[in-house]
Symmetry: none
């Protein structure tokens, strides 16, 4: 299953999806705890945990005895430009993290290499079932590299890119639609980055990082295309239905 160790996290993710997708719009009320518990097939305390996490993330406000209400997302607080597309973000990450990897290759310490290896193992171990640990290991991997550049400004910029990735609803959704099917490929790509860093080869490190993001970008593009095809098909069916309806009511004149 989508089990990731702790149950409430899986519930949390599903709820965030529902909120992001507009199922529960800002200002609206979530279903009661008991109903959610039944719907997700978990107990009520677990739902409560997910709601509390949601509350801590400022996505929701709980009013005792009344219900839990969706807050409007305030992107202005951390100024994420909502018009930034997943493609732009990934391209920017490719360029910037590519340079970071090259920089890190000539600066990285043995201790940091060890931590990279740990993260790599975590990624490989959990790549089968749980996404959470795998995701976390992924993030740690990249963070260690940015730290290894010994440039706090560069590290801060990269942190910011991850923040945008995790907090822009549009981008979150795009990633969720592709992050299920990968697995060994991702581990292999990170392995190649690690190898280049271990050899202290800046050029190869940059190249491996670019390759990693290039694949990600291609997946995003493919997912977007199939989504658009799906959308087009849906519209086609819709208009066909409308046409047939028009035909039934038999209005020979008006095309509308």
């Amino acid at each position: 299953m989508a089990s990731e160790g702790r149950l409430y996290r899986s519930v949390l993710n599903k709820m965030r999806e529902l909120i992001d997708s507009g199922e529960y719009p800002p200002g609206g009320r979530l279903p009661p705890e008991r109903e959610l518990a039944e719907r997700f097939g978990v107990s009520r305390p677990t739902i409560r945990e997910a709601i509390i996490a949601l509350e801590a993330l400022d996505q929701v406000r709980v009013k005792t005895g009344s219900g839990v209400y969706v807050l409007e997302t305030k992107p202005g607080l951390h100024d994420i430009d909502p018009t930034v597309s997943p493609f732009e973000l990934t391209e920017a990450r490719a360029l910037i993290e590519g340079e970071a990897a090259a920089q890190a290759a000539s600066m990285i310490t043995d201790e940091q290499l060890e931590r990279l290896e740990t993260a790599l193992n975590d990624m490989a171990e959990e790549s089968v079932d749980g996404h959470l640990t795998s995701e976390l290991a992924d993030q740690q991997f990249h963070q260690i590299i940015s730290e290894a550049t010994q440039n706090k400004m560069l590290a801060a910029v990269i942190d910011n890119l991850w923040y945008v990735r995790d907090n822009s609803p549009k981008i979150r959704r795009a990633h969720q639609s592709i992050c299920e099917t990968d697995g060994r490929t991702r581990v292999k790509e990170h392995q190649e980055i690690y190898d280049a860093l271990k050899r202290r080869d800046p050029s190869e490190a940059r190249k491996a990082m670019h390759a990693h993001f290039a694949r990600l970008l291609n997946k995003l593009i493919a997912a977007n295309e199939s989504e658009q095809i799906e959308e087009a098909r849906r519209r086609a069916v819709e208009s066909r239905q409308r046409f047939s309806l028009d035909h039934l009511v038999a209005q020979p004149q008006s095309t509308r």
Copy 2:
């Protein structure tokens, strides 16, 4: 009491206090749920809720079967880190704006090239007397390039770098100490970037951008060195004066 509607919040606050006060240092482990429940006089689910909120706030990491561990608090992602040095910033700008220039070289429009030329002229005209217009033209030049990448994320990152440059006191001071003496060199460097962009040559554009920042970095280093020498001299004078003062009061016994 400290009750604020929901019990877990009061527990959460107490725990945060304990963590902040150093009672539970980063890397350390919190007491087990059952013990905390007894200590705070609440039930275990309530403790769990508080821990989950703590986890959502990135203050704590839960390891199943082992315990809950305190994370080191990261400085705010979006505040300017005051420990970032002018060198780090300039290095980061070199890498990132270098890639931006390469990207821009293959995407830039004729209209943007025109605006670059205008900025270049402004820079050249004013390079003799007024620094203000020249500074502004410089910033515009770089902004047009980041815009030409057609990547809003990359442009936002570069904007952020300029913001740090303009708003970190330490970095502002460092720049002011070197920005007076340049002149034709800077214009010439920007001219070379412009030429590469006009030829639509990514590699040369990157190279020219790197050269620009490399010179800036060297100047910063030189200024820093001379500043440190100055500082050392000042201290030498100071200690010499103190020595002579000690000598004047003529205390043969105590070394203080």
